[in-house]
């Protein structure tokens, strides 16, 4: 088996003519007593799409996944797979694959027997089982370890066997619950690529749960940001990073400088953000997208790599916001340098600059001026101070 030449081709096209979504969640809810774990989740996953549920622990993403698997029954709403209502169907008749964080390989079976299990349960003929098990083991590049027991395999190998077991019966949806959570960083990265390769090669529809945003950004076509049992925002990694719809998303995805204040519009001079004596210009596009009422509590979000250290004499100009700051800490991160700074009003800021060509050797306590293009500021409502 070889990887397809253009990795993205297999994703969206494939051989399925009908374009119904593979998975539809409608107003899905789950409460445990008075505690609400999932509070009305709506989600459509297209065939062959890789969607990640990302959020802090306790945000309802794992509960949602478990309801799709059928391990928990929803308190409300519905689950549809390939157009069939699965809300009350027991897990063993749902035909979805699942990869668990702790692998959940059967300890009394060899790797090959583990992979064969779903095919045996489906009453496949032996010859067929042997062939498909060999294919699946080959797919995860463990063709020669089929006779080993799980305890004789490393964590990474066990998870690849678990992946082979979850895809060997060609499930309609593949669910993954923090599958790389128990592995160390290096292995995690190589397995991320492995999972992407396998799922693309098979054209699998994947619903993936993680709390690791980098993992979500690397792997997903779309990401659903979970917070307090709801989807806060659904979009591609770029959407979420460049156009966060809320302060929560802006804060959760990537590092952010968050300047809180009041949103103001004064005539031709364009929209502003004010706080005490400070005033920052906001781009028209950002203001339009946020659609806030003048005078409401808002937050201006600026990514650390969008802020630059400028000459202390520089006034900025109409397209720039400038502010004076003091260097608190200088951190070398290989290709980048990260500066932690404080504004005069005590607000903390983070700036990230490539080391190459910066030519600066800043020290703690140095006074600097920060500048960013007005267009690089994102505007969101600030629910906390509203």
């Amino acid at each position: 088996m070889t990887a397809p030449s253009g990795p993205d081709e297999n994703r969206t096209t494939g051989d399925r003519s009908d374009d119904r979504p593979a998975l539809v969640l409608r107003d899905l809810r789950k409460s445990f007593g008075s505690a609400v774990a999932v509070d009305g989740v709506d989600l459509e996953v297209r065939r062959g799409e890789f969607v990640t549920l990302l959020g802090p622990s306790g945000s309802g993403k794992t509960t949602t996944l478990r309801m799709v698997a059928g391990f928990m029954s929803p308190s409300g709403g519905s689950i549809e797979i390939d157009g069939n209502d699965m809300t009350r169907v027991p897990p063993y008749r749902r035909d979805v694959g699942m990869v668990f964080q702790n692998y959940a390989l059967f300890p009394h079976m060899t790797a090959a027997q583990n992979v064969a299990f779903p095919l045996r349960m489906r009453g496949q003929p032996r010859v067929e089982i042997d062939r498909r098990v060999a294919d699946a083991l080959g797919l995860v590049k463990l063709g020669d370890l089929g006779d080993r027991y799980p305890r004789q395999l490393s964590g990474g190998q066990q998870q690849r066997i678990a992946l082979a077991r979850a895809v060997v019966f060609e499930p309609r949806v593949l669910l993954m619950d923090e599958p790389l959570g128990a592995l160390d960083r290096k292995l995690r990265e190589s397995l991320q690529l492995e999972i992407i390769r396998v799922s693309r090669q098979l054209g699998s529809t994947v619903l993936y749960v993680t709390h690791d945003q980098e993992e979500a950004l690397v792997m997903s076509d779309r990401i659903a940001i979970f917070s307090a049992g709801r989807i806060e925002q659904l979009g591609s990694g770029e959407d979420l990073y460049d156009r966060p719809a809320s302060l929560f998303v802006a804060d959760f995805i990537g590092e952010s400088n968050i300047l809180r204040g009041r949103y103001e519009v004064d005539g031709a001079d364009g929209p502003w953000m004010t706080r005490g004596q400070s005033r920052w210009r906001i781009g028209h596009a950002a203001a339009e997208r946020a659609a806030l009422e003048a005078g409401s509590a808002a937050a201006l979000v600026v990514r650390p790599e969008r802020i630059h250290l400028v000459d202390t004499g520089s006034a900025g100009g109409p397209g720039m916001n400038v502010v004076d700051a003091t260097v608190d800490e200088v951190l070398y991160l290989g290709p980048d340098t990260k500066y932690q700074l404080a504004l005069e009003n005590g607000q903390r800021m983070v700036v990230r600059e490539p080391r190459e060509g910066s030519g600066r050797e800043l020290q703690r306590g140095d006074a600097v001026r920060l500048g960013w293009s007005v267009e690089d500021g994102l505007l969101v409502a600030d629910p906390a101070s509203g």
């Binding site: 698997a69 059928g70 391990f71 027991p90 897990p91 063993y92 008749r93 749902r94 035909d95 979805v96 694959g97 699942m98 668990f100 702790n102 959940a104 059967f106 300890p107 009394h108 299990f117 779903p118 349960m121 489906r122 027991y149 305890r151 077991r165 979850a166 019966f169």
Partner: protein, 253 residues
């Protein structure tokens, strides 16, 4: 410390260490140290009708008890660990009660009832009585296996297409099997050397080995008792060693 430990071990093992050499004596009475070396008391044990039927009876009772207690105890443990029903805590406590209630109390209670039912002094009566005593050991051993078993394995089995029945036979049962075997061995041993309940439940026509020993020692102390004791001991020890093997074979969780 080492000396104290050694002393404790000696204290625990001394009665055993005395009885084994005594069984090989040439003398006609129980004596320590033994005189000479002879297997005559073992020969006597096997050829004497009362002793040999005692051995056969004990083996029968213990085997049937082990089977019955293992089936019932495993089912009880499954129900208690997987089931959700009112009064679960109370049922759990009741299952374990034979471990706490004085054996003689159980014996008298059962005796009264079994006489009425006309099953006292029979194989079936004793098996039923011993099963009650042995069941908690099985329930505890299997319950421990079920608790330490990764619940995700059952979820994984369901996810991969196994209905509850197939999930049990293909996944749960093989994984808790070491616990089931441990329970079975404990159940066998519990019955094999039980004497209090057995005294109530046996009759002159039907005696187990420990009861036979007790009866004989009250009349005359002949070294056959030492040979029988050694035999009981060997069987129990072999079973305990088997237990260690079972434990070692258990798949890593």
């Amino acid at each position: 410390m080492a000396a104290l430990g050694g002393l404790t071990v000696f204290y625990l093992l001394a009665p055993t260490l005395v009885i084994v050499p005594m069984s090989f004596t040439e003398a006609r009475i129980l004596s320590f140290p033994p005189e000479g070396f002879s297997l005559q008391w073992y020969e006597r044990m096997v050829t004497d009708r009362q002793w040999s039927t005692g051995i056969v009876n004990s083996a029968q009772v213990a085997t049937l008890t082990a089977i019955l207690a293992t089936v019932l105890g495993t089912l009880a443990a499954l129900g208690l660990s997987r089931g959700r029903f009112p009064g679960r805590t109370a049922v759990n406590a009741l299952t374990l009660s034979p471990l706490i209630v004085p054996v003689v109390v159980i014996a008298i209670g059962m005796f009264g009832l079994f006489v009425q039912w006309r099953i006292s002094g029979s194989l079936i009566g004793l098996v039923v009585a011993h099963t009650a005593l042995a069941l908690p050991f099985v329930a505890v051993a299997v319950g421990t296996s079920l608790r330490t078993m990764d619940r995700n394995l059952e979820l994984a089995a369901a996810n991969l297409g196994a209905n509850p029945r197939r999930s049990f036979f293909h996944i749960t049962f093989p994984i808790i099997l070491p616990g089931v075997l441990t329970g079975a061995i404990f159940a066998f041993i519990t019955s094999w050397d039980e004497v209090v309940v057995a005294i109530f439940m046996t009759s002159a026509r039907f005696r187990t080995l420990p009861v036979e020993m007790w009866e004989q020692v009250r009349q005359a102390v002949d070294p056959t008792v030492a040979a029988v004791s050694t035999t009981l001991l060997v069987v129990t020890t072999v079973l305990l060693l088997l237990l260690l093997v079972v434990r070692r074979q258990a798949p890593a969780q």
